[in-house]
Symmetry: C2
């Protein structure tokens, strides 16, 4: 279940807003057993958006999730960008208008049927609006050859609500049974370079997607003693096998650390 994330917004490229949406999505997808292969961030520019969508579709992920650019303002261009790639027009969608009306009614909020307001209900021809249970602009689902495209709002609470209701169940269904077990080590007295050969051996002798094994330097303890963090994740469809693999690798790591004169804290 290969998934790509496309984050759209000038504020992300100007360092104004931290891309917590992509981080949250990536964690949710990983926890469900999906694999995020790429995260791309582009500006609120029609050609940048359409280029990024086109490139992503060429890599044929199962799902492409976009965030941002669904609102009522001049710089909300995500759906125009998607439509451009698919050779479609954006059209006013009756279902989307109804969703918008309901969302305003739910919040007891006035609106006028202005061009800007109706813009939030203009979606690529033949695509499906998705109710936004928190804010205004509906999400959109679209099928492009092999890839399902989901366009989510950029406001985190809205993005999360739409993702949890409409996309996460689809990922879980696609992945099937999935178990993930994790061990984190804090090690003293070994550097990444010292641990490198053991890690390479461990990774080389396990299926690629079954484990995640990574070291991170953590500076120094009492000046001269290096510290590193080791994160080990075992994952798969069979809980017994996942646990067994985790235990086996953990034993190898613990032995290796001792041999190198380091210790686990």
């Amino acid at each position: 279940m290969i998934i790509e994330i496309l984050s759209i917004g000038n504020e992300l490229l100007a360092g104004i807003t931290l891309n917590s949406n992509a981080h949250w999505l990536a964690a949710e997808i990983a926890n469900a057993g999906g694999i995020v292969r790429r995260i791309t961030v582009v500006s609120d520019d029609l050609l940048e958006i359409s280029a990024a969508v086109k490139e992503s579709l060429a890599r044929r992920p199962v799902i492409l999730v976009t965030t941002g650019g669904l609102g009522a303002t001049y710089d909300d261009l995500t759906l125009e960008g998607v439509a451009l790639v698919l050779g479609k027009q954006v059209v006013l969608d009756g279902r989307a208008v109804d969703m918008l009306k309901r969302s305003y009614a739910r919040r007891d909020l006035k609106y006028e049927l202005t061009e800007a307001w109706l813009k939030m209900a203009k979606i690529p021809e033949g695509s499906m609006p998705i109710e936004n249970p928190v804010g205004s602009a509906p999400g959109v689902a679209e099928q492009a050859d092999r890839t399902k495209i989901f366009c989510l709002p950029g406001v985190p609470s809205e993005m999360k609500a739409v993702f949890e209701r409409h996309i996460l169940p689809l990922i879980k269904e696609g992945v099937g049974r999935f178990v993930m077990k994790e061990i984190n080590y804090s090690l003293r007295g070994v550097t990444e370079a010292m641990m490198a050969p053991a890690l390479a051996r461990i990774v080389g002798s396990n299926p690629r997607e079954a484990i995640y094994l990574k070291t991170h330097p953590r500076g120094y303890y009492r000046k001269k003693t290096p510290q590193i963090r080791v994160q080990l994740i075992s994952r798969g469809s069979d809980e017994k096998e996942v646990k067994k693999r985790l235990g086996k690798i953990a034993t190898t790591i613990e032995k290796e650390v001792a041999t190198l004169g380091g210790r686990i804290c």
Copy 2:
């Protein structure tokens, strides 16, 4: 001064680590007057890295900054990826070895000349190592046709130190005089849809790179009253002009808000 950022690391795609590096870099670059056109995140996979580097070079940014993948472990593949795109080999670099030795001596840290340790001094043939004043692995500078490639470590303190010393001065020099002034409004009683036509008019009547104008919905105040945030940035080389433009747009926004029955808090 168009710049791209390529963040490399499985931990970013698995939602384990928040990509604060890209956020920090983007803010630093924007504050210096540079423009980040795209941020890409890929895994520690040779083909993913080289594909992303190749795609970035094809877009011809002035600078491509990569972060991560410079260490001693099996999954540190950034330089191999860059070399692959440029048709080069990675080779042991004497200057990089000296930098590594100094970095260990500085921290009073022991090392052995193992393959893993020396891996941190293997850089693409003809590229330039950059001293890492905080950690181990040197950064790397490489020229690729029109684009300067800078490969920075993934550890934030190391990444920041190398960027500030070696890349930021280059961006500032390339951009020249640069001034940025900002106003943030918190508005009540107007929605994004209500403000949209005014924003479009303002943006349409100013040079594209000279202003940044964006609204963000902020939920509701006392139930029925919508709140939005408006961020207005004016930027350019002439301080007087930057201030004048900011003032003019601010006046327009304030009038517009009043006309729509909203107020500034």
